[in-house]
Symmetry: C2
């Protein structure tokens, strides 16, 4: 028997996965990690700049390249990473596989929790790396790439531990045969599918990659981590930490390799189509995601794009609602896959506890709430962060050219700490329910559409249609009517979209909590995978049962 | 709260699914069902002949057709079935869906167990219908289409019940926020994917269709049952029984419809490609199965063809082994998807407890065992049954033309009860390990290939390669060496093929027991689905979680 150091942690996480009540292994408050942790992390981050990244333990001679630029300073990080061919990466993964495959799932889970503990020591290094590659504010960088990502990883480990132990390793099967019986010895083995590839995105390089990385590893598959070439450092630090623990435990660091590349010479498609790759996790655009999903003979998990809706029907406290929504749309400048984009508002307005508000009054209240937040020097820049890339900035700048009525133009964002930061305040447009050509596309970044509908029924019907045809990860709805609530639930759930009702205060539709909220349902075009439902784990291995005549 | 009549049955089945020890709800001995049950069933079967089949409760005016012919009597059954268009079938399924979808999984499971109890009352009607459409012997017809199929159905119901209750229907999520806390009410719903289609085959029209039918129904999806036009009656009786119970319980019989068609005007592809169909279960040829798997936007479960291997290395009692294998290959004339086809035997022969046997001696022993079984008047016809169709007969007749050394020619099978039965004794051929063009194809029916290999290592390597490239559902292996056993296990499991070691006596590699053995692993080209692993259920619905501010 092995001594499973983190048994309690794993079993608590298994329980949390089932119960779905509040649970967190890694506190989300930076202060929980010690007085000087942030400062030390920043120093370590700065030490990495302007040189080759030498912390990886994966083997092989190589060339080096890097092209990361901080969205806050607009300066190159100057870090280079080792480049490998797909054949080199896959070959090393295959060589490393047998020892890991033949290690029982309990031990794999234990070692993987140990890697999370090691990553925890680097939370602040990762936070600064995330900030200066993605444009997330410091607080979001810390939480999303640190404790929240680790919690999601632990969730996947726990699901792997649970499912990997679902069936007995061995048993005696005894069939009664009249006065005698027939006995077989049986054993059940969870055979990993092969080598995994996890393709990251430029906005959430850690949070969106950790579930796939840990799901592959806990089920016994080596994993190749392919970051976006503009956001390598955060996940490079994570991969280094994993490799170090694997090596300390006597396993090959090649079980988890970083596959950096460059925009000029990308290797993602070569890796995807490599016959040695069986599993692919992908986060990014729908176009590339559809390509990945179309690959034959691969098991594919995607999170692609969607258009998220807000349905406004009736509210108790309209100001509380508008403040909540203004924060939701401003958070990281609409660059979260969970951010709302399409606001469906009935032409006759909405009812509130303080009386009826006309459509134009609702629009005005929302506009005012956004302006107020954005212009608040203590809130604005810290909430909006920076835009990861120029395309997103241009999309926001050009929102006025979409042909809709401009309620609020995107303006340069004032950021006192980083005066050169790439920023733009939210652009708000008003369109009619007939303007589908405008609102049926994802306008990634700080662009919001207020859609005037005939009534709430039309709002629901359009939100449903968008989710079904173009995908949706979230839907926020505001209603004081139980009947309308039931109808929204039925209609949005029927297209596999979860609904968040009447959020005000310190909870936002953008947030999906590990161990409780599934992130993406997997049922509509926004993606085929879900963090972490059972399928996210089960599709990575195959149950095989062997039998033998007892005593043979 | 509902009163769940079959709660104990369901929970025992859930437990059995996890423990995988011997379990059966429906005894496999015909005598367990009463003295006159067989006779009465035969009479009811005969009453159905030569007239339209009027027992279905599904609605709609229609035309009628039927083309079944008994492989035993070579006479047409003369039964006609109602024909519907894909639009009619799908439209009715969609109309029937909401009530069923909104019924909680416990109640659905309970009603479905009730349908199994109703099917039990028709086990013998179904047995005779199976016999005279598939060519299975009476005993196999009874067991495979009766108790074994019902056990597989219960297994799927139990998995649906378990997975449908995995997450709490509702809960309060409370996040600590310093001295206060934040509360959300959450609910989790298992939303069915849509309308299911279950495509049956001509050899196991009930056994292979029931898991998909019950998996669809227990997860809340209506199902359309598309039988092979040459084997409709067995599943028509099952569908009638299901419809009757559904109607008695206040649900639409259109939740489970029969979609009969004719060879001249098949509707399978129209159904598969219908936008209203979301789920497809398929059993049959690899060619059609690959088409089904390639359909975009469908959730597909397949059991296709494979080439099953026997690896002979070393044995204790060679006669016991040969008797066991002779029975395995003779059972239903090799028309089971689990039947062995390729026998890998080392050129230098095998060791036995009684000394070494040369390759030719092994071949002779196997040939003798087959001849002895086939010519045994008490065993032959009852074991081999009849061939379902002329193609299988021709394949057996033409085996000598494959270019291999003929060890035993297929001969007309003597059947005293049915003198016109379509039958052929097994043809046995000897080939070399270089003759891949012969043994890498499935030769469905009574054709066996004895392959002379350099040694057991080559045997393993070839069996592995066949499974990986062409699929395999079973692998039988005989060895007295623990090292060889370990190697065979590793190699065959690595291509997701289960191994049965050293079977002798009353247990055969062809048999997969419900609640214990997975049928097909889903990991190699023999099929992507497994009866009944968790995926077989989970991919039919989507978990969606809704949230609301508590008290809103």
């Amino acid at each position: 028997m092995f001594n499973i150091k983190h048994q309690n942690t794993i079993e608590s996480a298994v329980k949390a996965n089932h119960e779905r009540a509040f649970y967190s292994q890694y506190p989300e408050h930076p202060k929980a990690y010690g007085e000087n942790a942030a400062e030390q992390g920043e120093a370590r981050y700065k030490d990495l700049l302007q040189k080759p990244y030498k912390q990886l333990l994966q083997t092989g001679e190589t060339t080096w390249a890097g092209e990361e630029v901080s969205p806050f300073t607009r300066e190159a990080l100057g870090i280079t990473y080792p480049l490998f061919t797909a054949d080199e990466l896959v070959g090393r993964a295959i060589s490393a596989a047998p020892q890991w495959r033949n290690t029982q799932v309990d031990v794999r889970a234990d070692i993987l929790v140990e890697t999370l503990e090691s990553i925890k020591e680097r939370f602040f290094d990762i936070a600064y790396a995330t900030m200066h590659t993605t444009g997330q504010s410091f607080m979001m960088s810390f939480q999303a790439s640190g404790p929240h990502a680790n919690d999601r990883a632990l969730e996947a480990i726990a699901m792997g531990y649970y499912e990997g132990n679902r069936y007995p390793a061995s048993l005696i099967w005894e069939k009664p045969m009249g006065k005698t019986s027939l006995q077989l010895k049986k054993n059940f083995r969870a055979i990993p599918k092969g080598v995994g590839l996890v393709i990251g995105c430029s906005t959430f390089p850690v949070w969106n990659s950790l579930p796939g990385i840990y799901a592959d590893l806990v089920t016994g598959n080596p994993v190749i981590v392919k970051p976006h070439p503009k956001a390598i450092l955060p996940i490079a630090i994570v991969v280094s930490a994993i490799q170090q623990v694997l090596q300390e435990k006597g396993f090959s660091p090649n079980l988890c390799q970083l596959a950096s590349d460059t925009s000029a010479a990308p290797i993602t498609k070569t890796l995807c189509e490599h016959p040695g790759i069986q599993l692919i996790d992908y986060t990014g655009s729908s176009q590339f995601g559809n390509y990945v999903e179309s690959l034959p003979d691969k098991t594919v998990f995607t999170e692609k794009a969607g258009v998220n809706s807000v349905i406004l029907d009736s509210v108790a406290d309209v100001d509380a609602v508008m403040q909540n929504l203004a924060f939701s749309v401003s958070l990281y400048s609409g660059q979260m896959c969970t951010a709302p984009q399409n606001f469906f508002i009935p032409a006759q307005g909405i009812t509130t506890a303080a009386g009826k508000l006309s459509f134009d009054e609702v629009v005005q209240k929302f506009r005012d709430a956004v302006v107020s937040l954005v212009n608040n020097p203590k809130m604005g820049a810290g909430t909006l962060g920076a835009l990861q890339n120029e395309n997103t900035l241009e999309r926001a700048h050009n929102a006025g050219k979409l042909g809709a009525k401009v309620i609020l133009e995107g303006q340069p964002l004032v950021n006192e700490e980083f005066t050169r930061a790439r920023g733009c305040t939210p652009a708000i447009l008003e369109v009619g329910s007939e303007d589908k050509h405008i609102f049926e596309q994802e306008l990634f970044g700080p662009v919001l559409l207020l859609i005037k509908t005939k009534d709430t029924n039309e709002s629901i019907q359009l939100a449903r249609q968008m989710a079904q045809q173009h995908g949706a990860i979230t839907c926020a709805a505001y209603t004081t009517s139980p009947e309308v609530k039931e109808k929204i639930t039925e209609e949005m759930n029927s297209v596999f979209t979860p609904v968040s009702f009447n959020f005000t205060g310190f909870i936002w539709v953008n947030q999906h909590a590990a161990f409780s909220d599934f992130h993406v349902t997997g049922g509509n075009p926004a993606g085929n995978a879900s963090f972490t439902n059972p399928e996210f784990i089960l599709r990575r291995f195959v149950w095989v049962g062997n039998r033998e005549v007892a005593g043979s």
